[in-house]
């Protein structure tokens, strides 16, 4: 992910649940408490970039400022649903950049299990994407429902597969025009 990658920026802007370990004076506005303090133990949804910074930076007494938790999109409930049937889960409703978010979370947590679930999901959904992309009517008919459930990565994949198939079809059509 490069510095100017819009998808990387949007991934980092997604919210993750954080629990404050310390009382922070004057930070209550994050909770909607305009003038108060951020109490110890209170839970707030913070953007990933901010939560990561606060969780990794060591304060004076060597405990970190906040602890990160898994975002709702990667909760055990969603992962179990993915294990059961990867093709029916609406990934876009979980997170627009589902896989990128997963990759970022995996950088922070050590979750061997999640890697397997995510790769298997990606693979089995990729096969469906390829079929839909090569089937001209798929995007309009019954395939439309599936396509609405794709996250950004998968949309990119669909576009790539669709464009290359279209390229070959166009070439064959041009051939007969000559």
């Amino acid at each position: 992910m490069s510095y100017y990658d819009v998808d990387a920026i949007l991934t980092d802007a997604q919210k993750v649940p954080c629990a404050f370990e310390l009382t922070v004076p004057g930070l209550g506005f994050l909770e909607g408490n305009m003038s108060g303090d951020m109490k110890q133990g209170s839970k707030v949804e913070l953007p990933l970039w901010l939560g990561e910074m606060l969780a990794l930076s060591q304060s004076l007494n060597t405990s970190s400022l906040v602890t990160l938790d898994h975002p709702a999109a990667l909760s055990p409930r969603v992962l179990n649903a993915l294990k059961a049937d990867p093709k029916s889960v609406d990934l876009r409703a979980q997170a627009q950049h589902f896989y990128n978010l997963g990759a970022r979370i995996l950088e922070l947590f050590d979750e061997e299990d999640m890697i397997d679930v995510l790769s298997d999901t990606f693979k089995s959904r990729a096969a469906v994407i390829a079929d839909q992309a090569n089937n001209g009517r798929g995007a309009l008919g019954e395939g439309g429902d599936f396509l609405k459930k794709l996250d950004e990565n998968e949309r990119e994949l669909f576009r790539a597969a669709h464009d290359s198939a279209k390229g070959v079809r166009t070439w064959m059509a041009d051939l007969s025009k000559k």
Partner: protein, 241 residues
């Protein structure tokens, strides 16, 4: 990002490269030898067959000055046999034509377009690298030189469908150590599947990037502690590149 074109070659570019392939023609008119950049073209004498590049063959065909002899693998019988082979073997493509035995001496290695895989004396039981685009172009420009053009067209379409489906299903076995065997896949099929397959590989790599990182860290630690031999060291260096 700067170029709007996808990586790899576009279908017209692949077809352009394919036009270097040699095909066999039966000239209808005398033609004097041509001094082409690639190799001089011998004079064409009407009843004798000659092997010339596809682009020139298409040009002469369009001017009705030659008939193209379709390669043997483009006959309905061969195509049917290859198609049967493809449908029986679920996880492999039909093998590419065998390379000629390497002759002793310092001759340059054979590869298309110098390999005569599309002339009249090509092997009939294997699809060469440029089978799809060559077949399409011949069917389009020289349909009257085929015995059963509609049948050939139908078989070509069937072959294409079967093989593309195989390519697409191939991504299911991709994994950290897995791979898809792509022996025998043609240029146009490769061009069509490239962006999809690389997209899947990229996505999988991104997801398991943390595992890869851990593996590297562990290997480095082991190396620094002096546990591993020199073979492992080489392995890791390869990964870094």
């Amino acid at each position: 990002m700067a170029l709007p074109l996808p990586p790899g070659l576009t279908p017209p570019e692949i077809a352009f490269i394919c036009e270097m392939e040699l095909v066999t023609i039966i000239p209808r008119q005398k033609l004097e030898g041509l001094k082409l950049l690639g190799a001089p073209l011998k004079p064409l004498n009407p009843p004798q067959r000659a092997s010339i590049p596809l682009w020139l063959a298409l040009l002469l065909k369009r001017q009705r000055r030659a008939n193209i002899v379709p390669p043997p693998w483009l006959s309905p019988i061969s195509l049917q046999a290859i198609l049967d082979h493809e449908t029986e073997q679920e996880d492999a493509f039909s093998p590419p034509p065998r390379l000629p035995p390497s002759s002793s001496g310092n001759e340059a290695p054979f590869s298309p377009p110098f390999l005569q895989s599309s002339t009249a004396n090509a092997p009939p039981d294997a699809l060469p690298y440029h089978w799809l685009e060559l077949g399409e172009m011949l069917l389009e420009a020289a349909a009257d030189d085929f015995e059963e053009p509609d049948n050939v067209r139908k078989l070509m379409r069937g072959l294409r469908e079967v093989r593309m489906a195989k390519l697409r299903q191939g991504v299911n076995v991709l994994d950290a150590g897995g791979g898809v065997k792509m022996n025998g896949v043609g240029a146009m099929e490769l061009g069509e599947a490239r962006s999809f397959i690389t997209g899947v590989v990229d996505g999988l790599r991104k997801i398991s990037a943390s595992r890869e990182q851990q593996r590297k860290d562990r290997a480095r630690e082991e190396r620094e502690n002096g546990y591993s031999g020199s073979a492992d060291y080489d392995d890791d260096e390869m990964d870094m590149e």
